[in-house]
């Protein structure tokens, strides 16, 4: 698929996403400035579109950064414990400081996600004879231990059921006024793009990076921080969406290679497109109800991941 095709696909999906929904919005009404149609558009459809694009871009870029730091193709927030740590953070903020608003919860999620990523990278670096697929396996196990801790905690405080509800990625609650925290992803993406060459060098390993004059520890920590901000912002506003950060960078690398400065925009666009596709599907599958995007993205992403694995290793 050429670059223009990617852009065209993205634009078409954006248009579709604005048009699909229980409340019919037609161009005729919009052009005649009907208040009703405009309200639907500005209060619900546009915020949703913005949140979808930002989340998709953010998660895909996160996957790239993590993959460079850990030097493994199959790492992303979902397979390195980051998502589960952010959930645990939110859970603890809910019981420790119930009064804290979205910003307070975001801070907790951020701290937990960052700490968990640091520990994960430390564990991976300690293992000497690694095997490419062992790294995500350890990440998945690590994540499931973290979520077992979260479940233990939630069960004790009787919020297990509601936790399962709001942890699943879902864009249907996004309306004007409660999603703005997601715009934090914007500066993160810009920063990542500016530092893209640093992350490329980071991906060459500690020895090479140091000899090229890069402060390895500082840059790795910066990368993990960027990831933690993105992940906590998405988990707070929409919930957990697995596999996007894994599938997209891998597919893009298959076609366009590994030069981050060139491929990062494509990764970002494809990430957004994947989420848009999952969301549109979710809205149509059991119309007029919605399937949460955590489920559609989990199915599509998981199947693509399996195909990638089987194609590569058998």
């Amino acid at each position: 698929m050429s670059r223009t095709a990617v852009v065209v696909l993205f634009v078409v999906l954006c248009g579709l996403s604005l048009m699909v929904g229980v409340k019919q919005v037609s161009w005729v009404e919009l052009l005649s400035f009907s208040d009703d149609a405009w309200l639907t558009l500005t209060a619900s459809r546009l915020p949703r579109l913005a949140a979808l694009i930002l989340t998709g871009v953010g998660l895909a870029v996160c996957g790239v950064i993590l993959q460079q730091i850990v030097r493994n193709r199959f790492v992303e927030p979902g397979t390195s414990g980051g998502l589960d740590a952010a959930k645990l953070g939110i859970l603890i903020s809910l019981t420790v400081a119930p009064g804290a608003g979205a910003a307070g919860r975001m801070l907790f999620a951020l701290a937990f996600c960052f700490a968990a990523s640091l520990i994960y990278v430390a564990i991976i670096r300690r293992i000497q004879f690694k095997n490419t697929v062992m790294v995500p396996v350890i990440g998945l196990m690590y994540g499931s231990v973290l979520s077992a801790v979260a479940e233990f905690y939630a069960y004790r405080h009787n919020i297990l059921q509601s936790m399962q509800g709001w942890m699943l990625g879902d864009f249907s609650k996004i309306v004007q006024g409660n999603y703005e925290i997601i715009y934090l992803i914007l500066p993160i993406v810009v920063l990542t793009y500016l530092y893209a060459h640093r992350f490329t060098v980071l991906g060459m390993g500690e020895g090479m990076a140091s000899s090229l004059g890069l402060n390895y520890a500082a840059n790795a920590a910066l990368g993990l921080m960027l990831v933690a901000v993105t992940v906590s912002a998405t988990v707070i506003t929409v919930g957990a969406i697995p596999f996007v950060g894994l599938v997209i960078p891998n597919l893009v690398a298959l076609h366009y290679g590994e030069n981050l400065e060139r491929t990062l925009p494509i990764v970002a666009l494809c990430g957004a497109s994947l989420l848009l596709i999952c969301d549109i599907l979710g809205r149509l599958l059991i119309y007029p109800f919605e399937v949460p995007i955590g489920l559609t993205a989990g199915c599509i992403g998981g199947v693509v991941f399996l195909v990638l694995l089987i194609r590569k290793y058998t």
Partner: protein, 315 residues
């Protein structure tokens, strides 16, 4: 000698635990409390046997010490199937529960294990971690499908299904316990008679064939036994995820031999002991403030993580 002592000591310990579980704080109430606890104890025993047997046999066939049926998605597919049944037939599918459901589930899991064996285990793929990753992702995808079906079913059916999803011994019914007990006893009887074959299978495919074992046929038989055991344990107590790895590895460490005659009973003792302790903690100490599955996942997950980090990719 030391190993003999460990073996008998362990069973003695389990026996003590069982008696303690039955009597402690019961006020010797033989009308209500003790029969109730007996049911739970029986369920614990059956589930322990199921998990130990299925994990150890599966590891023998797969030729490694990390994969278990639960990790390879057996439990996930069982739950997916139950959700589908409820969606398609409504709650009366649970009336079908006794015979038809178990039979269908076992058949389905047989097909699944045949596929897994055919595609993944035989393919000359000796990369354990690849299989592990495939199993984990497959379980996650099937879990997602199950959640998707949960969205479609009505709240009443949902709450019934929710009961399947968490390991708990409190919901075990006497009739179900007896039924599963008979089934498991039959499976164990067959497994007992094939113990020498299992020891040979552990040597690997080529050695087993050169020693005169009908390899495909024996593996098919063992896979069938595993399918039945997992179906019974999942329907009785729900998914147990990482418990099997924990039980099997501790059993190997304590047994000091790889003969199944020793490792299988040891595994059963360990599994039953862990279940009793977890159930006791949940009932008496934590005041039902947590569930057995959460406790076990926590402990066994940490253990598996440590196991993988320690072996450093050489397994």
């Amino acid at each position: 000698m030391r190993h003999m002592a460990t073996r008998y000591g362990l069973w003695l310990l389990v026996l003590l635990l069982a008696v303690g579980f039955l009597l402690l704080g019961s006020g010797l109430d033989f009308d209500y409390v003790i029969p109730k606890r007996l049911t739970r104890l029986a369920a614990i025993g059956i589930a322990g046997v199921c998990i130990a047997y299925s994990s150890v046999i599966f590891q023998t066939i797969a030729g490694n010490r990390i994969l278990t049926p639960a990790i390879m998605g057996y439990e996930a597919i069982y739950l997916l199937f139950q959700a589908l049944l409820i969606l398609l037939l409504g709650t009366q599918s649970l009336l079908l529960g006794r015979d038809g459901n178990v039979l269908l589930s076992v058949l389905l899991m047989l097909g699944y294990s045949w596929l897994i064996h055919r595609w993944l285990l035989r393919n000359g793929s000796h990369n354990v971690y690849l299989l592990l990753l495939l199993g984990l992702v497959l379980s996650m995808v099937m879990g997602t499908f199950t959640q998707f079906i949960q969205l479609k079913i009505s709240p009443g059916e949902f709450s019934i299904f929710q009961g399947f999803n968490y390991a708990s011994f409190n919901k075990a019914q006497p009739a179900q316990v007896i039924y599963s007990g008979v089934l498991v006893a039959a499976v164990c009887f067959i497994a007992q008679r094939t113990l020498p074959v299992l020891d040979v299978l552990a040597l690997g495919r080529d050695q087993a064939i050169s020693l005169g074992v009908d390899y495909p046929r024996s593996v098919r038989l063992q896979l069938a036994l595993i399918a039945i055991l997992v179906a019974v344990s999942t329907s009785l107590v729900g998914p147990t995820a990482f418990m099997g790895v924990f039980v099997a590895n501790i059993a190997y460490a304590l047994a000091g031999t790889t003969r199944h005659r020793v490792t299988l009973p040891l595994g059963c003792a360990i599994a039953i002991g862990i279940f009793i302790i977890a159930q006791y903690l949940v009932e008496q100490w934590l005041n039902y403030n947590t569930s057995v599955s959460i406790l076990i996942n926590l402990v066994c997950g940490v253990y598996l993580l440590a196991l993988m980090i320690r072996t450093r990719g050489t397994a």
